[in-house]
């Protein structure tokens, strides 16, 4: 390995908040404790955040509302290999947020990821079940108003596909019938809003 390779890998690790080798050279050790490194990381995160806020409107606004957006972007940037292309960056971010422990965050990220894919020409059909009215929920996210309550006896089934006018359709389904037709992966109805099931139906 050349000096250049070691140097650039060391700086990448520092930018990503990863540890550097204990016997790293003096320069890397100097950078590791510098204010300049903090600034460089801040600039990198600012650009990622700016792009994601522009491109992933629902998810970023929800995360901001929950007060976890900046931390989410930083963790994503540090843990994942990020693309300079916003189209790829946003898909990777939404895929990553789709696994978030908060089912509301995961649901909105899954929905937005499917919507962006379909908008960009993906021919797949994506289905997500919600325990509350998703239109009201998404409006609430955009407008900063209260979330709609979860409904006990029915679910809202959204289908996202380029074959649908407007790309998204929604139907109300009785919860018992929905259970028969879908293998639920989400949690049972509760006071929190959650997506109960998200499936890529077929290409």
């Amino acid at each position: 390995m050349t000096d250049l390779t070691q140097l650039q890998r060391g700086l990448l690790n520092l930018m990503k908040g990863r540890p550097i080798e204990a016997h790293a050279d003096y320069y890397l050790q100097r950078v590791a404790v510098s204010n300049e490194l903090l600034l460089a990381k801040e600039i990198a995160l600012w650009w990622r955040a700016f792009g994601l806020e522009t491109y992933c409107i629902f998810t970023s606004r929800l995360l901001n509302r929950l007060g976890i957006f900046d931390q989410a972007v930083e963790t994503f940037f540090c843990e994942c290999s990020t693309s300079p292309f916003i189209e790829k960056l946003s898909q990777d971010f939404l895929a990553w947020m789709s696994m978030h422990k908060d089912p509301l965050v995961a649901s909105v990220a899954r929905f937005e990821r499917a919507l962006i894919k379909v908008k960009r020409g993906d021919s797949g059909i994506y289905r997500l079940d919600w325990s509350c009215n998703p239109e009201s929920l998404l409006n609430a996210i955009l407008q900063g108003t209260g979330f709609p309550p979860a409904e006990i006896h029915q679910i809202y089934r959204t289908t996202i596909s380029s074959r649908i006018p407007g790309l998204v359709s929604c139907e109300r389904v009785e919860r018992t019938k929905a259970s028969e037709s879908s293998s639920r992966v989400g949690r049972a109805p509760s006071n929190t809003v959650s997506c109960m099931d998200s499936r890529h139906v077929k290409d």
Binding site: D3, L7, L11, P84
Partner: protein, 289 residues
């Protein structure tokens, strides 16, 4: 007196350029009468699709509409010419498409790297000025020049991280790179000011060592201070000090073809179309007076 006239004659040869990243047709219409060149950033006007990155059709249409009103120059951010593991073929494919669609007078990149082992740094880092890096970049510059057959320029970037001790000074590295390859240089005078403010970079010493024959373009911009650092964000009008520095360079650099005012697309709402035009007029007046 003779010297002053010579200086004015040199100044008059430099054309005026402005950055434009698409999606602002009213702005483009407003700035076209003021400039000779439009600088596009291939990465910024591109979108990623299932088969790679391509210029956005809407932006292509806008650029086609420019017609004879101005010429195009391309200024990339994604080549990552100094990455130890190779530069970005993806960027070059994008550039291939632009060269096949437009008559691009010259193209340029930053003397920097943005990826390591294919992973994005999230920002642009300056190159270590070592013999290893000089050899690596020189070979790549020669390949890029061979590929497109138009002038290729490299730009000095701000030093965000502490400087790495290399075998060359900043100016000596640029001089040697140009000597090795015949490439031209973009001198971003705002970046020089950022470096001077942030860590006491010696601009006068740099300029006294730089071979001005290699400077083909000057970049102007304005930015903000944050946490005690002057940032290279291209979000403001050009400071008087930046313009004065540009004129100082211009008076000594005989081969400058354009002076480019750069502003981020994200800064347009803040700057405003009117202020951008005013700024271009001010810079143009300064160049031609």
């Amino acid at each position: 007196m003779a010297s002053a006239q010579l200086s004015c004659a040199r100044k008059s040869r430099a054309a005026l350029a402005a950055s434009y990243q698409g999606g602002e047709p009213a702005l483009l219409e407003a700035i076209l009468p003021l400039v000779d060149y439009i600088e596009i950033t291939p990465d910024t006007i591109a979108e990623l699709t299932h088969d790679g990155s391509h210029p956005k059709p809407d932006t292509v249409a806008e650029l086609e509409d420019i017609g004879p009103d101005a010429r195009l120059i391309a200024h990339g951010v994604g080549l990552s010419i100094g990455s130890h593991d190779g530069y970005s073929e993806c960027y070059l494919h994008l550039l291939d498409q632009l060269f096949s669609q437009f008559d691009i007078s010259w193209h340029s990149e930053h003397l920097a790297y943005t990826t390591v082992d294919g992973e994005s740094l999230g920002t642009m880092l300056a190159l270590p000025r070592t013999n290893e890096m000089l050899d690596l970049v020189s070979e790549r510059v020669l390949r890029v020049q061979q590929r497109y057959g138009v002038p290729f320029l490299l730009e000095n970037v701000v030093h965000i991280l502490p400087d790495y001790d290399g075998e060359y000074s900043d100016a000596a590295f640029l001089n040697q790179l140009a000597a090795n390859t015949g490439c031209g240089l973009i001198l971003d005078v705002y970046n020089l000011e950022c470096d001077a403010f942030n860590y006491g970079f010696d601009i006068a010493g740099f300029l006294s060592e730089l071979n001005f024959e290699n400077v083909r373009e000057i970049h102007l911009a304005g930015g903000v201070r944050h946490r005690g650092f002057q940032l290279d964000v291209h979000s403001r009008a050009t400071a008087d000090s930046t313009l004065q520095l540009a004129n100082l360079v211009l008076a000594q650099a005989p081969n400058v073809r354009a002076v480019t005012y750069e502003f981020l697309r994200e800064a347009i709402p803040y700057l405003g179309q009117s202020a951008i035009c005013t700024e271009l007029t001010r810079i143009g007046h300064g160049l031609r007076s």
